[in-house]
Every structure is written in structure tokens, then in C-alpha cells.
Symmetry: C2
Subunit: 404 residues, 2 copies
């Protein structure tokens, strides 16, 4: 049984965290000892902190003791000096904590192509460390410290009761713009008290990321700094080997945490006023389902229409059409819903509802805070769900004047 | 020698045209007899008029005598009735002109998923036909009749002097939104007085479309109705066989016409205030150059920054990074220009200019009406150029309320 609890990552045994923010410059530190795994952006321009973190995890046997995160500067495309700065971040924290720097994860978010103000970060570390703690407040300050244009802090924790024992999974994230994660999202940090003893975990983690963070699109820009790190502290005393049911239930809980964080990021996309959930069914294969679902939530025309409650549903069909997914327009079906009312506009290629009354009903559905788009391609049996948001004046406003 | 002349398609011998617009509903007819070729959207949801046109050209030996175009309704995703409507458009026109309907091309643009008002179109045909003509005015009215959210009519004609004789090439187009052509653009109609006698022409035409219309992005939405038709009337009396120089010079003139129409569409993208020309050089192969150039002009973050003159050049590097093109960030170079002044921000991976003065100079360059982005990937010797526009409040405004 999975139930939501308070406290974000600090709900997980063995996790201490804190963060501060001075204007646009934030710094957070999380300490938690355990087996760890990471997924990183596939952008060819990969940020310095990710290079350092990946190298650490590859050479230290897959363990982390602490994570340091700064916001306001991405430390991306900063060449040799950037790599040195990322290493200094890890070294400085390691020294103060009395640990080896190879067990430190580093992440950054903010403007690309600017030298880090490493002195400010060093000074911020000194102010953060005395406040490390495991309470709701400490989790809150950590979530806030890693935000950039995010309006809402993002975190969740769940408690999982299995026949093999009870453990927790918690995560925090930040998102907002430059969001079409090609593996993580801007930044996400996930913890569990479970002792993970499973060879396939790294692979399983990637699969879950593929179904959650990799299925959200805010603007289609894949960041240079996407990272998602998970650390298993084992402090619950429960091992994934305790019982055959534990590991599958853990994966289910982990997917819940990742998916809820992903949806929080989509809903809080830059300038967004609505969350869009698009489910594509009856695709020829899973890749087609993913292509079509992401194409629909990525389409600027669909996103603008959702912002304005414009019942221009033809754009949804068009976005599926150019997605690269195989289907015949004679077999496609389309239903929109606000979670309560729903309207089927197309059934097996035939327009079923398109008169004034139907378009008025569609407009009313589109006015909801969460819009569900269900597209059936009629081409097979695979499915996928993607999340996105509307495209608004505020997205343009935020991004027409970000650095200055 | 290629020089620009007035008159658009009507500058080409054998072409007569006219168009009218009643509110949002426009109708244009172009008559011109000759060898013809077409390229069509690759969207799986292909509009009914394109199905009819493609079928006609495939079965009639590649000739057209007339084209009929309506704006305001895309006749896309309209099933059997839509196909019937598109056929009725061709038949009605053919009957009135006393020609065979298989020599009529049909195109439509506007809202997707709405039944065509075929009676209005029939009535409009009767008002258009008596006005068909070859003057500048007739070309103007035709350009205007096919517009939807376009602010500017789009047309160009050139005269080509070769040692084998003189002939003309003219074209008109409409664009604006749902623009990432995957073969044509919304609609483009091109004519030449040259008698084309060359087996490779259909293939050559596709290559030129690939370098021009397929290199523009307004919003990344590939329309269901993209079509580009070319008809060679032969009225110049010059044949492509007249002289070895004629055909290459014709292709050059044709590419000029297609490219200028493509740039007009990009500059007049929905809500756009600026044209963006992005050239990627030193790519490992041509596909990589295309991927990177299109990724940069498609990026909502780059487009928003250009709208707001925000010197946030890191977003350009990031967009190249997630484009799928192969390169090492240590070898990339980046220069921005307004056509007169230019600033090199990155040279072989090293940031060369990033202080306050440099960013102010970059801001000034970004304030121009045409912005040139030159990205050198340092990975090979191939190149490509793509065109796009900025992302503005008006794009959102236009598309949040298009059908209603």
C-alpha cells in the first residue's frame, strides 16, 4: 500500500537537507549515505556539474553521501574553468563534511555560459551546513533554494507498506523552462529508506524516468543541466530482498514519486496556467505512442489553443499526424475531458461532435485547470501518457527577458 | 543573369489568375497549361484537396491546366465528404473552363475538421472567373485571396537571361502559422515560362524544396495542407534543352524564388517581428547541419530571447546540443550579426565575449529586423541554412483564439 506523507526528501530516514537563496542565487545541500544512481541530459552540451557527478558515480561504485546544488547559474558551456568550479563545489563540501569528494553529487541550474561565482557558493555552504536537518521546514527551504523561474516548490513523499516491511520514498525537483527532459528534468533528487539489492535497479530506474520525466514537455528545449539522482539510505531497515513483493512495490512507489514530480513541473511550466495530460492508446508500438503523445503536448498551436479555450481540436489530430507515429486517419479517435465531463470529437476517423453546442461544451472542458486529451490511433495496442502545459503570454514575457 | 521583376506569377507567360475574399473565406483560381510537379505535406493527416491533386498529377502524366485554392477552411480531416468536396471544387472549375478535371490542382488552408461550404465556393468561382487576367493587380488579388493570418501578401518573379534564351519564374505563397513544412509550405504556387524537358526535374524540384521551404520553422507544427505546385507553361519559347547552361540557370532562379518565398513566410510568421537566419557550418554531414540549424530557429527559448533582445546566447548552443547533431562542445563557435555589425561569442568552445560591453553590443545586434546566427560545429565540412522568426505575445494571442 502506498500513501502520501509530508516532508519530501526529509521524510526518508538518513536524509538531512537545507537551502538558502540570496536573490537569484540559491544553494542547497543534501546529505544521505547510500547506493545511488543518476541519469543525465542527452544534450551534447552537458553542464560541468553533471560531468563531475557522472564521473564520481562511475568511479566510486555507485554511492553518494551528499549532493550540492546551486541555482542562478547553470555552469554549462563554461569549459575548463567550469569543470574546475564544479570540482571545487564538491571538494569544499566534502572537506567541511569530512567525506571523500568522490561521494558528492553536484548539480546546477540557471543561465548558460557564465562563470560561476565560486566565492559566493563557498560562503553559502558555510551558512547552509549548520542548518542541515530532517524536518518539514528543512525540506521546504531546500526545495525553494533550487528554484529559478519556478513559482511552486516541488516535492513529494510516500510511505510504502509491503509484506516485507515499511519504507519511504521521497523526492524534490525544480523545472519551469527549457523543459523537454531527455532523461531527467532540470533537477530532481529522490531518496528512499529501502536497501536496494537488485542488479537491475539502474536499468529499472531509467525505464521509470522514461515513463515520467521524459514524458513532460514545457517548451521542447532540452536543458544542458537535466539530472535526476536517487540515493537509497537503507535506514528503513527493509531490504528489497526481504520479500518478493518488496521490489515491485518499491518500483511502483518510485514511479508514483517521479510521475507526481514530473506533473508538478509540467503544471508549473513557465507561464503555464493549466496542466495537459495526453494519453495515446492503440499505437502500433510504444515508440509511436510516445511520439504522438509528446508531439501533441509539445505543439505550440495546441498549447496556445488550450490557453485560450479555443475548441480548435483539429490541431491535436494534426500534431499526431506529423509526430512520426504510424496510423491511418480513418482509424483515429479523439476525446477531451476535464476529469468529470468529457466529449468525443472523433470516432474511428468520423467527426462525431462539431456543431455549435459541441464546441461550446468543449470550450467549457478546456477551461478546467487540468485537461485530459485521449487519442486512440487505432493502429495497435501500445500506449503512453505525456504531460505538458499551455503556452501563454507569460512564457514569452519570462523568456524575452531572463538574463537581464 | 537573374533579376527581380514585378508581377508575381502573372509575370510568367501563359498564367492568368484572380482571387476574392469574403471575410475569412477566400477563393483564387490560376490557369496555366503545362508540365507540372507537386510536393505535399508528410503529415499522416493529409488534407482532402492534396489527395485529389496528388492523384490527378499521378494519373494525368504530370500536367496542370488550372489550380483552385480556398482559404478559411482547410478541408482536412473531413473524411469521405471532404474528398467529395475537393473533387466538386475541381469538377466545377473544370466544367466552367471547359477542361478535364484531372488537370485541376486543388489546395485549401484554414481551420481543420470543418465541412467545406461548397455552395459558397461555387458561387465564388462564378465571381472569380470573369476577372482572370495577367496583370499586377490580378496577381495581387490572388495573393490576398489565399491569405489566412498572413499580414503580408507573398510573391516574387524573376527574369533569367541565359545564352539559350530568356525566361521567367514566378511564385506566390501563404504561410503564417502551423509552419514547419515537411515538403512545401502552407501553400505555394510557382510558374515558369521555360519548357522543362528534363527527366530529373521532379527530383531536382524536391531537392530545392528541401533547401528552401523545408528549412523554415515558425512554430514547429507541420500542417496537414502543405503543398507546393510548379507548372511550366513553355510560353517563353525557351526549352531547357536549348543550351547546356539553361537548366542549371533555371534551377538557380527557381531556388531563388522558392527561397525568397520561404523567407517571406518566416518573416511573416504568426506574431513575428523579426526574421532569423541561422547558418550552421562545419557539420559532420548535411543531415546534422539541417538538424542543428532547424533546432536553433525552432527553439521557443531562442525565439523568445530574440523577441526581447535578451543576449542569452547560451540557449543557441543548448539548442544545437539537443538537436541530434554530432559535435563536441570544445569545437563549437558562435557569431551573431545584424548584417552589418557582428559579434563572436564563442570560438572553438571558448567564450570570447561575455562582459557587460559585449552583451550590450549583442543586445543592439538583436534589435535588428533580421538576425543572422552563425554556428560552426567544428565537426566536418557540411552546412545548411534555416529561417525562422521570434516568438511573441501576438503568436499566443492569434492562436489562443483562432477558430472563434
Amino acid at each position: 500500500m502506498i500513501r502520501e506523507i509530508k516532508g519530501g526528501i526529509c521524510a526518508v530516514g538518513g536524509v538531512k537537507a537545507y537551502g538558502i537563496k540570496d536573490g537569484k542565487k540559491g544553494l542547497a545541500v543534501i546529505t544521505a549515505k547510500g547506493k545511488a544512481a543518476g541519469v543525465y541530459t542527452k544534450n551534447k552540451v552537458i553542464a560541468a556539474p553533471l560531468i563531475v557527478t557522472r564521473e564520481n558515480l562511475e568511479t566510486n561504485g555507485g554511492f553518494l553521501e551528499a549532493v550540492i546544488v546551486n541555482s542562478g547559474n547553470a555552469n554549462a558551456f563554461t569549459g575548463g574553468p567550469g569543470l574546475e568550479d564544479a570540482n571545487v563545489m564538491a571538494e569544499t563540501l566534502a572537506e567541511k563534511l569530512g567525506i571523500d569528494k568522490k561521494f558528492v553529487g553536484v548539480a546546477s541550474t540557471g543561465v548558460i555560459g557564465r562563470k560561476l561565482h565560486i566565492d559566493i557558493i563557498k560562503e553559502q555552504i558555510d551558512r547552509v551546513l549548520p542548518n542541515l536537518g530532517s524536518g518539514v521546514k528543512e525540506n521546504d527551504e531546500t526545495m525553494k533554494a533550487i528554484m529559478t523561474t519556478d513559482l511552486v516548490p516541488k516535492g513529494i513523499a510516500v510511505e510504502v507498506e509491503t509484506s516485507g516491511g515499511t519504507f519511504r520514498v521521497g523526492g524534490i525537483a525544480k523545472g519551469s523552462g527549457m523543459i523537454e527532459p531527455n532523461m531527467g528534468t532540470m533537477l530532481a533528487f529522490v531518496y528512499t529508506g529501502l536497501m536496494i539489492e537488485k542488479d537491475s535497479f539502474d536499468e529499472d530506474f531509467k525505464v521509470l524516468i522514461g515513463r515520467t520525466f521524459n514524458m513532460i514537455v514545457v517548451d521542447g528545449d532540452t536543458s544542458t543541466n537535466d539530472i535526476c539522482l536517487i540515493t537509497a539510505t537503507g535506514k528503513s531497515g527493509v531490504s528489497s530482498k526481504a520479500d518478493a513483493s518488496v521490489y515491485p512495490e518499491f518500483l511502483e512507489a518510485l514511479e508514483t514519486v517521479l510521475r507526481e514530480l514530473a506533473k508538478m513541473i509540467a503544471r508549473d511550466g513557465e507561464g503555464a496556467t493549466k496542466l495537459v495530460e495526453c494519453t495515446v492508446t492503440s499505437a502500433a508500438d510504444e515508440r509511436d505512442a510516445v511520439l504522438a503523445a509528446k508531439s501533441i503536448v509539445r505543439s505550440p498551436l495546441v498549447k496556445s489553443a488550450i490557453f485560450g479555450n479555443d475548441p480548435n481540436w483539429g490541431r491535436i489530430v494534426a500534431a499526431a499526424g506529423y509526430s512520426g507515429a504510424e496510423f491511418d486517419q480513418k482509424n483515429i479517435s479523439l476525446t477531451l475531458s476535464d476529469g468529470e465531463k468529457s466529449i468525443t470529437l472523433v470516432e474511428k476517423g468520423k467527426i462525431t461532435n462539431n456543431d455549435e453546442a459541441a464546441l461550446a461544451a468543449l470550450k467549457a472542458i478546456m477551461a478546467a485547470k487540468t485537461i485530459y486529451i485521449m487519442t486512440d490511433l487505432g493502429a495497435g495496442s501500445e500506449k503512453a501518457t505525456a504531460w505538458g502545459c499551455d503556452l501563454t503570454y507569460d512564457y514569452v514575457k519570462i523568456n524575452a527577458d531572463y538574463t537581464t
